[in-house]
Symmetry: C2
Subunit: 478 residues, 2 copies
């Protein structure tokens, strides 16, 4: 149950209404409803108003008004956070600020290889606009049809292509940010080298809306790939999967676009629960990898490279079997086996998610030890590790034992996550590789990154947001 929302002071409401107009200020509870729940169903908040500014000037003026009145602000893009990062709390006192109307792509420059996009541009639209200009914007993740540029930058989103192109932060050349007092950092520079003061853009990227609101960004584009090669491989074990990654990286580091690990258990869920998902290999294996190579060079002969490396790995006993698609449709089917992992787990019953990373060298050990720890805790549970092996980032998920009550399994969710995290911590890893801290993991941040590191973050927060009005309760406890 949530408290009834408070209302904003009438003078503030009037000023916001004058500033933003009827499209920019929403106070009807029914209209606000979709903005007050996250898609995972973890949180349901309350809010006195939803602001939808049309441009940076309006947003800055609104921030000034809210700051003067001491009203807290929760920025929201596509509302696809995995950790409740865009949810207001239950107090009914936090205003939600949607960037959805600020969705212009201001500029694409194929010489500078840059795109200037406003925060509300949907990631997929940014990808499409880049493609239309003959370029590639490489950030790609499953929520790309809803997630926005502001959101992926504020959370430093990752995804499938980071092994080649890096995370969102690495794709950020310039930034426009509205600070809590309504002042605007006008840093939309498109410079590949610029050593004039602190790296503010990199600080705001990944700060999850707790320091200011990213309103626009200069994004890096790349030449579009002209040659690709894909393979699904059945692997002997986790070590063999890592060994194969090393073979590809060593041979042609620049062409490894994705290197995804999947378990036999995960693949079983996909092939049995997802319509039309079939495994194009002779038999079942306990471990799989999906290798995706790409190059802008038309004559890169990645198919030849793929076959040569796989042959070596077959001889070495690492690869047991491999399928190379002969058409776009076949390639899409292979990727689908990977992409349907989350949906298949959902259909399999109660499931618990972990978004962890470790040094690449420790991925095999992390998978084995985590799975063992989870099985010890809940006998019969089915670990389904999958994800970005080339980045050391494995979603160490687990599905309930057959026949168990989902609710009973979910009651062990916290313990299961803790079991994985204990292994990850022992291996010098991270409790949040991609999804951020949000509201869900503030305690873990304080615990894992405590001491001088946490204190430095806390001081930076206090310096840039002295009233504590920016996305309260995220990153740091509310």
């Amino acid at each position: 149950m949530t408290d009834a929302p408070t209302t904003l002071p009438p003078a503030l409401l009037d000023a916001l209404s004058t500033l933003l107009g009827p499209r920019g200020l929403v106070t009807d509870p029914a209209d606000m409803e979709p903005f007050l729940s996250d898609w995972r169903g973890l949180y349901h908040g309350a809010s006195p108003a939803l602001l939808r500014p049309a441009n940076t000037a309006e947003l800055a003026a609104a921030m000034r008004l809210l700051g003067q009145a001491g009203v807290a602000v929760v920025p929201q893009g596509g509302n696809t956070s995995m950790v409740g990062g865009a949810m207001p709390d239950e107090s009914g006192r936090q205003v939600v600020l949607s960037l959805a109307r600020m969705n212009r792509i201001r500029d694409i420059d194929p010489v500078d290889m840059t795109m200037v996009a406003e925060a509300g541009v949907i990631l997929k639209n940014a990808q499409d606009a880049a493609a239309e200009a003959g370029c590639l914007f490489p950030l790609s993740l499953s929520a790309e049809g809803s997630a926005t540029i502001g959101g992926v930058l504020a959370t430093n989103a990752g995804g499938n292509n980071t092994v080649r192109y890096g995370n969102a932060r690495d794709l950020l050349m310039g930034i426009e940010v509205v600070l809590p007092d309504g002042s605007v950092i006008e840093g939309l520079r498109r410079l590949r080298k610029d050593n004039t003061g602190f790296a503010l853009r990199q600080l705001f990227a990944g700060s999850e809306g707790t320091l200011g609101i990213i309103t626009a960004a200069v994004l890096r584009l790349f030449p579009r790939p002209r040659t690709t090669a894909l393979a699904l491989c059945a692997m002997a074990d986790e070590d063999a999967a890592l060994a194969l990654f090393r073979r590809f990286r060593d041979r042609d580091e620049g062409s490894v676009r994705s290197f995804e690990y999947m378990s036999g258990a995960g693949m079983d869920f996909v092939t049995s629960l997802i319509e039309g998902a079939t495994l194009p290999l002779a038999g079942r294996a306990d471990h799989y990898v999906l290798v995706d190579l790409a190059s802008s060079r038309p004559d890169a002969d990645l198919r030849g490279l793929m076959e040569a490396v796989l042959e070596e790995a077959l001889e070495a006993g690492e690869v047991l079997d491999a399928a190379l698609p002969e058409s776009e449709a076949q390639a899409a089917n292979l990727w689908r086996l990977r992409e349907e992992h989350a949906e298949a787990q959902k259909r399999a019953g109660g499931n618990v998610k972990n978004d962890v990373s470790v040094p690449v060298s420790r991925v095999p050990e992390m998978i084995r030890r985590s799975a063992e720890a989870m099985r010890a805790l809940v006998p019969g549970c089915r670990p389904v590790p999958f994800g970005h092996m080339g980045d050391g980032n494995i979603h160490m998920n687990v599905v309930q034992p057959e026949g168990m009550e989902p609710a009973a399994f979910m009651a062990r969710a916290h313990d299961l996550m803790e079991a994985v995290n204990a292994v990850v911590r022992d291996l010098d890893g991270s409790f949040s590789a991609e999804h951020g801290v949000g509201r869900l993991k503030t305690d873990m941040l304080a615990d894992w990154r405590g001491g001088a590191e946490y204190e430095a973050m806390r001081r930076i927060k206090a310096a840039l947001d002295p009233q504590g009005l920016m996305n309260p309760g995220k990153v740091f406890p509310g």
Copy 2:
């Protein structure tokens, strides 16, 4: 003239002496002398003591003592700053803290592709250690025989390979930092994805020692190149040089390791003033580029790629002539023509340096307009633009007119720099692409990056260094 240095309070001196021992505490003025001047001869400072801690624990304890006594600290690595970034001021009150003894490479891991290096490791030694492990640490710049890992990170150094591998900040995976109060951020993580809080490592990188002292870092390594191709090309004009860059980037973005522009005037100085430097082309041109391709792929056929692209560009009238080396020695000679630019300019008489960047698309316009502006100011002066065209970073240098008194020319240095900067600013560029702000450019930072951006930097500085003891007078005015 500098003031006589003050001495430290006897109790502090005793405590530091006990902590650091005779090798770690230097107070003899003669022994301190080399640490009090920068190599460009811009500044000569004074200091009551030089601290040389042997490890992080000693350094942290020293910082705590200095902080309690309110004594300011100037960190120093290889003392190769172009902007006085490692110099104490003339007050004699600032202690110099040399990282030179903290020069261990703690670890190299060819699976994680990481190196853990202490701040005092000389860049060249880091490169060599990576090479011995069969890997590449790609950061490369002319001061690499003296510059240290701490220094290149603190200044976010660039260099020749950034078009492919990025600046120092992009090569930084984890960091250990001692804060002004002696607390230690223990962030030596080797994670390619880690969204747990603010990007502190990227904030400290490029902060020029004003927020804390980087004591060690996890650096990214890469597979070593197995195939390379090099060409020196005579170009029709600046636009042709940019067009050629686009051809290579579009064809095989991942293999363009360097793309360096040089002017005819600059090449004339090199070939006439540097012994043994000869131009392996049929005739003189007004514009040159040096294209360096590299790939870890043994069968990349970069020579074929080079020839194919150059042929297209010859037909298009962009390239006038090209020399492809047939041996390592010939390749070294081509690179030498580029690397001797600074020395040749020095021998040519009075010369003024600019380290500017603009969006890549605007490099031709920047070169032409800057040269024109300088010639208008000092008729007969000889602009010698050269540098990293692929990064938009051109060293827009200028040599005195023939026969002019060097001192008379150097009296115009400030005006000449301002003339270039006016053009760069008009093109949304940077007054410091690689070298940082240091002591030399604090006024420019306040002017160019004023308003909310500067205020945010100022607040972060105050938050992390409330007493203002970290490298005072750098980045911000003293």
